[in-house]
């Protein structure tokens, strides 16, 4: 479904991604784990078109999407949930969700999807009229995910959904990710919390300083001594 081959990205003189290749099949949850500065977020941003690759290509459903503008990639069903809970703080929950459906013109469909989001994230229904900025961290994470789901994506790029959340909330967020996946959305998950990520992923890649150093089934990686030492806290 998603095929990344030999991807290079530069920030000025900094070579952030040095030839990354990996793939994701339909229906999978693929985790990308790695420490700070490994290039995980850069990779997601490049796939979703927020950054431009200097070399290599990204293809999605047998179509090359690298080089296309972000909005075109969104309209193909690839949605990027950026890290740090990027909601629109001065818009209400409903308005945030509507922004998620920006590309949909059918009002009825928007209303329908919104209702579905409220069913899945009941806490958002209670906060309907509240400004996004006044929500708690966990609620904001729910909101960004709900906003992403408004377009009914086929592939979701999730960047650090557990960032800054209490352990209870992290579990809840990961439960929701699994649920989303069961309903047919493939997921590329970037996480620092390797334990959680590997526990729900089918396969995983380890990214270190711009290169993929390890890959395999999530369960295998969990038992890999290198991974245990570096990411699972020995």
């Amino acid at each position: 479904m998603l095929n990344v081959s030999n991807l290079h990205v530069h920030y000025g003189a900094i070579h952030a991604l040095k030839g990354v290749s990996f793939n994701l099949e339909e229906g999978e949850i693929v985790a990308l784990i790695g420490s700070n500065g490994a290039g995980k977020s850069t990779l997601l941003k490049t796939i979703s078109g927020l950054l431009e690759a200097t070399e290599g290509e990204v293809s999605y459903q047998d179509e090359i999407i690298s080089g296309q503008p972000a909005q075109d990639i969104v309209s193909k069903g690839v949605i990027h949930i950026p890290e740090g809970r990027k909601i629109f703080p001065k818009m209400t929950v409903v308005e945030n969700l509507e922004m998620g459906a920006f590309l949909l013109r059918d009002r009825r469909l928007v209303a329908e999807r919104m209702e579905a989001m409220f069913e899945r994230f009941p806490v958002l229904r209670d906060r309907k009229k509240q400004l996004g900025g006044t929500l708690s961290g966990g609620e904001q994470q729910m909101l960004t995910m709900a906003r992403g789901l408004m377009t009914n994506p086929k592939l979701m790029l999730l960047d650090e959904p557990s960032m800054g959340l209490a352990p209870v909330l992290v579990e809840k967020v990961f439960d929701i990710i699994e649920e989303i996946n069961e309903q047919g959305t493939s997921i590329l998950l970037v996480e620092q919390n390797a334990q959680m990520a590997l526990s729900i992923a089918d396969r995983a890649y380890v990214l270190e300083t711009g290169r993929i150093t390890l890959s395999g089934d999530a369960l295998d990686l969990m038992e890999n001594p290198l991974v245990i030492e570096a990411y699972l806290g020995g």
Binding site: Q71, F102, E112
Partner: protein, 526 residues
């Protein structure tokens, strides 16, 4: 035992209050106020250019009362409130008396300090102490002490619980009356009373230019031009969040298009006003594209600096010898021809006021349509968080550029109109001050609000014109006004309520939610 800091706090209050008063005197506030009163109410309180004694007495009493009113803390008991009022009034009175001693000395020694403080002529100093000489000092002290105390006492009475409840019941009664009144109104009026007010406003605006003289028409057209410019800049700054400091450059493009195409010199093309104006608008839009493409990635401070540079480049180019044969250089272009409509050429000031009013109406219409559209929502999202906006599928570059282009079109339009109205345009009409003025009017008036923009334009361009005689401290007073504004009303005089983005009809939502809750309907995950 009284709280230990009560005395110190009240004395500090008195000090600050009196220093504010003295400062306002020094920048000629009383002259401005007297001028305004003379003009607005038609009461002459000026003697020559100096406020009369009775006006000064009024000012002192008013200030003293306000000092007393603000002296005490609402939550304290009566006794300490009176004590607070007393201390504050004593301090304020004392300091003003000291200041008066100084003034009295200056008057008697016949020292002229107008060189440093133009508002302080010997007469105005004498009138400050009510033209009484030494005894005036005591009179002033007494005024501040007793009126201050009166203010405190009245504040205590007015803020007492009894007064509060009676005020509230009065409010409730008025509310009730208004409710019954509006209930009795036919639904047509109830729903559309706003339009009635608009209609009255329009009628007033249509009649006024014929009634007031050419000077006020001049002021009105200046304000009007800034209203349109403000709406344009608001699209860039207020809606899409791009801080633009070179707005005058787009002005210049409109103005010079009209000037070059419709003035006898330097080219004598004489294309006619309307086609030239259209060229001006298009030129400004093209300018926005040329500026916009390279700066798309910039935000905030960086964007402000680059756009500031852009504005200056345009102005300096127009001024330079390089283009002197083409644009007239620093001397500008004279004798720009105005518009003709239905065979009638625009000559009087009121013609231009009408012209500008028409364009204001069109601008407001376009602005409202844009702000409440899908485009407006995209702009707001970009302003809030560009990355999130992009992630939801908004074409960041496209929408940012669109905001620049539309905003620039407004500037090109008013630039052209202003050039024709003044029959002149030159590089100095498009200086950085113009850009800053337009931005300030948004900040003073309030962003994303048409009434705010109108108020801001009036405050920034209308008031200074009306108060031209006392403009010595205009800039200073203006700076202070801005600071006070930012403290008291940080969002502007009349800030816009955020456009309502909820386009989903509540009814549709309700309907769908009941449908979904019905067990019969198989819930497919959308």
């Amino acid at each position: 035992m009284k709280p230990p800091n009560l005395f110190r706090k009240s004395a500090e209050k008195g000090l600050v209050y009196s220093l504010v008063m003295i400062f306002m005197m020094m920048i000629g506030f009383h002259v401005v106020a007297a001028n305004l009163m003379s003009k607005v109410f038609g009461v002459t309180v000026l003697r020559g250019s100096i406020p009369e004694v009775r006006f000064m007495a009024f000012v002192h009493i008013l200030f003293a009362f306000l000092f007393g009113w603000g002296a005490s803390d609402r939550q304290r008991d009566k006794k300490s409130r009176i004590r607070q009022g007393l201390i504050t009034s004593l301090t304020a009175g004392g300091i003003i008396a000291l200041f008066s001693v100084l003034l009295n000395y200056l008057v008697e020694a016949q020292i002229d300090i107008r060189q440093y403080l133009t508002a302080f002529s010997a007469d105005s100093m004498r009138y400050f102490i009510l033209n009484q000489g030494q005894s005036g000092i005591f009179v002033l002290f007494a005024i501040y002490l007793f009126t201050g105390l009166l203010g405190t006492i009245l504040a205590i009475i007015f803020q007492s619980e009894k007064a509060q409840t009676s005020r509230q019941s009065l409010k409730a009664k008025i509310g009730e009356a208004a409710q019954t009144f509006s209930d009795k109104m036919p639904t047509l009026v109830k729903k559309h009373w706003k339009y009635g007010i608009y209609a009255i406003l329009v009628v007033v605006l249509l009649i006024m230019p014929m009634r007031w003289g050419s000077y006020y028409n001049f002021v009105a057209s200046v304000v009007g031009v800034y209203v349109i410019a403000g709406i344009g800049l608001n699209i860039m700054v207020g809606l899409s969040g791009q801080l633009m400091l070179g707005y005058a450059a787009f002005f210049a493009m409109g103005a010079y298009s009209v000037a070059l195409l419709n003035a006898p010199t330097p080219h004598g093309i004489m294309l006619g006003f309307w086609p030239s104006l259209l060229v001006g608008v298009v030129a400004a839009m093209i300018g926005a594209v040329l500026l916009g493409l390279p700066i798309m990635r910039l935000r905030g401070d960086y964007l402000a600096i680059v756009t500031l540079g852009f504005g200056e480049i345009i102005r300096i180019l127009l001024k330079s010898d390089l283009l002197i044969d083409f644009t007239g250089g620093p001397r500008g272009i004279h004798a720009i021809q105005g518009p003709t409509l239905f065979g009638r050429s625009f000559t009087s000031d009121s013609d231009y006021v009408y012209l500008i009013l028409v364009f204001i109406a069109i601008s407001i219409f376009i602005y409202q349509r844009l702000a409440n559209s899908r485009t407006g929502r995209a702009w707001l999202a970009i302003k809030e968080d560009p990355i999130a906006a992009q992630a939801t599928g908004i074409n960041l570059r496209g929408y940012k550029l669109l905001a620049l282009i539309i905003g620039a079109a407004f500037a090109g339009l008013v630039g052209g109109i202003a050039a024709a109205r003044n029959a002149f345009t030159g590089p100095n009409d498009h200086s950085l001050m113009v850009s800053i003025n337009v931005l300030s009017l948004l900040i003073v008036g309030g962003m994303n609000s048409i009434p705010g923009i109108v108020l801001g334009a009036f405050a920034l361009r209308g008031l200074p014109e009306i108060l031209r005689e006392v403009e010595t401290y205009r800039q200073l007073a203006f700076g202070i006004l801005l600071i006070v504004m930012m403290l008291v009303r940080p969002k502007g005089l009349w800030p816009g309520s955020r456009p309502v983005l909820e386009k989903v009809d509540e009814e549709v939502v309700e309907e769908i939610s009941t449908e979904i809750k019905k067990p019969k309907r198989k819930r497919t995950h959308a």
